[in-house]
Symmetry: C2
Subunit: 308 residues, 2 copies
């Protein structure tokens, strides 16, 4: 089924305990669509870049089946830029620089061919921009997922709460879930957030895995224990892309299938962190991905026989 | 099979965001044996208390099948006392007071009837005391597990490294695994720790669950997401007691059975934190425990069909 991803397409400078990468490809929509491209080939992107963005990277995205007709290119403009440095624990990072550039005046415009999209992933952006995308869809998609962050809770809470009313799945991290709900317990946080609109909540905990809440159901997937995490940038977006890409490819929103989607998302994220930028997300095979999923099964599945 | 637990039997003052509990029952060996008592009835304890410890609590331990003939009672002495305050996140705590009391001169003496024990759990204590217990066993137990903490790595590293050579399973938390190995990645930490002696490593991550490493095998169990965590005191020891109690009851050290042991340990820990002190560990039924294990299965198990 068709999947539309909205978010940044950008440059990053990244410093981790394993090294540095300068002016490499980044951005939420980049990670989301690349991860999703391993599951579905009806894939569209809405974003904005300057004319400084390399054509070879755009060509690569198209070669992965990503429709770029909703990607605005601003002549004379510069692409969004982020620079950050990770701490030794890799879960904490300092932002060293943020240059919004073409993002400052970004007004998403959906091409006609995008308007019947069935799955929508609203990557982390101003809630007002996320809302502008929703408003342009004449038919509500089958599933709308939204990613956001504490920054928008601080500076645009009202707009965020408005857009939350219109979505199905919210993906945020544990501290953001606590901030948004005012509850420390993630179980209680989920209940409060369900009252705000979403029917599903995915809580991303970085190296501590991810939780999926739906009604009274909970599913947990750990992060794969890896010998080397080279660069965590984009892992959350890659998770989201694998998750919604798998859902879009199967068209099955049962809780059992959403569990599998969480595992596929976690598998894609486990690749993402093994190299800088999007490098490890290029040229994966179905077999690579399936082997990772099998690793997850060995990591968490257990057999038991008990009488209840 | 027979299981011997060594560790403190103590009083605790506890303050959490949910309230206070003064002079309640605590101690590693208390939690370990109570948790294990739901799996095996050939259960012995080595510890020391003062004559201030309530007889009713000792009677209760005996009613759970725990052999107290290795529990020294020092007339005129005071039992070990710990006071702590938990932060809002419940994973961090401040120690407000520690009174070693009878622990200062503790010299563990194993009764003859203890000497053929098949499973041994050395709870967190001075490495020298842990070694003294091992030295008194004429036949090496089938399985020796040891719990320790950063404090002993700081003040008694040499003695700790000596005792590590003689054990099978080490249980520590993630920061301690990093400190002991000098590796940030837990996968690399496990490899280094295996070179120190243990064949298995259990890394306890509190609210983020537990990892079991054995050779190249890894298993992960999350903590059960709970609406209310009232008091985390003793959760790690309760986990250890459920884990080794299950192993002792089944006598099966295959990796598949150790996975189940991790789940049973996690289930026992999930009860422990629901009330202050040992209150929730009293009067559980087999059905209560089995229901919890089924909850873990729903939380982590997933079905998948892929071609490799």
């Amino acid at each position: 089924m068709s999947l539309l991803a909205v978010g940044t397409v950008a440059f990053d400078d990244i410093e981790t305990p394993y090294g540095r990468a300068e002016r490499v490809i980044g951005g939420a929509a980049t990670y989301i669509t690349l991860a999703a491209s391993y599951f579905t080939d009806d894939l569209k992107i809405v974003s904005v870049i300057g004319d400084d963005f390399p054509q070879t990277e755009l060509d690569y995205m198209q070669s992965r089946g990503i429709d770029l007709s909703g990607l605005q290119v601003k002549n004379g403009g510069k692409s969004f830029f982020w620079a950050g440095r990770y701490h030794k624990n890799m879960n904490d990072r300092d932002t060293l620089d943020t240059q919004l550039n073409v993002l400052t005046t970004f007004d998403p415009v959906l091409p006609e061919s995008y308007k019947n999209t069935e799955y929508l992933m609203l990557g982390n952006l101003t809630p007002a921009v996320q809302m502008r995308v929703l408003e342009q869809l004449p038919v509500r998609p089958k599933l709308v997922a939204l990613d956001t962050m504490n920054f928008w809770m601080n500076v645009a809470l009202e707009e965020l709460l408005e857009v939350l009313k219109k979505i199905d799945i919210l993906t945020i991290n544990d501290e953001e879930a606590r901030q948004l709900s005012g509850e420390h317990s993630l179980v209680k946080a989920a209940r409060k957030i369900f009252e705000m609109g979403p029917k599903y909540l995915v809580i991303k905990k970085g190296e501590h895995g991810a939780l999926l809440f739906s009604g009274d159901d909970v599913f947990f997937a750990p992060a794969l224990p890896l010998a080397e995490v080279v660069d965590p940038t984009g892992a959350g977006d890659t998770f989201a892309g694998g998750f919604i890409g798998y859902l879009a490819s199967t068209g099955d929103l049962s809780f059992d299938n959403m569990k599998r989607a969480v595992i596929y998302g976690s598998a894609m994220a486990s690749f993402c962190v093994e190299k800088f930028s999007i490098e490890r997300l290029k040229g994966l095979s179905k077999e690579d991905i399936n082997k990772r999923v099998a690793q997850f099964a060995r990591l968490v599945n257990f057999d038991y026989e008990i009488e209840l």
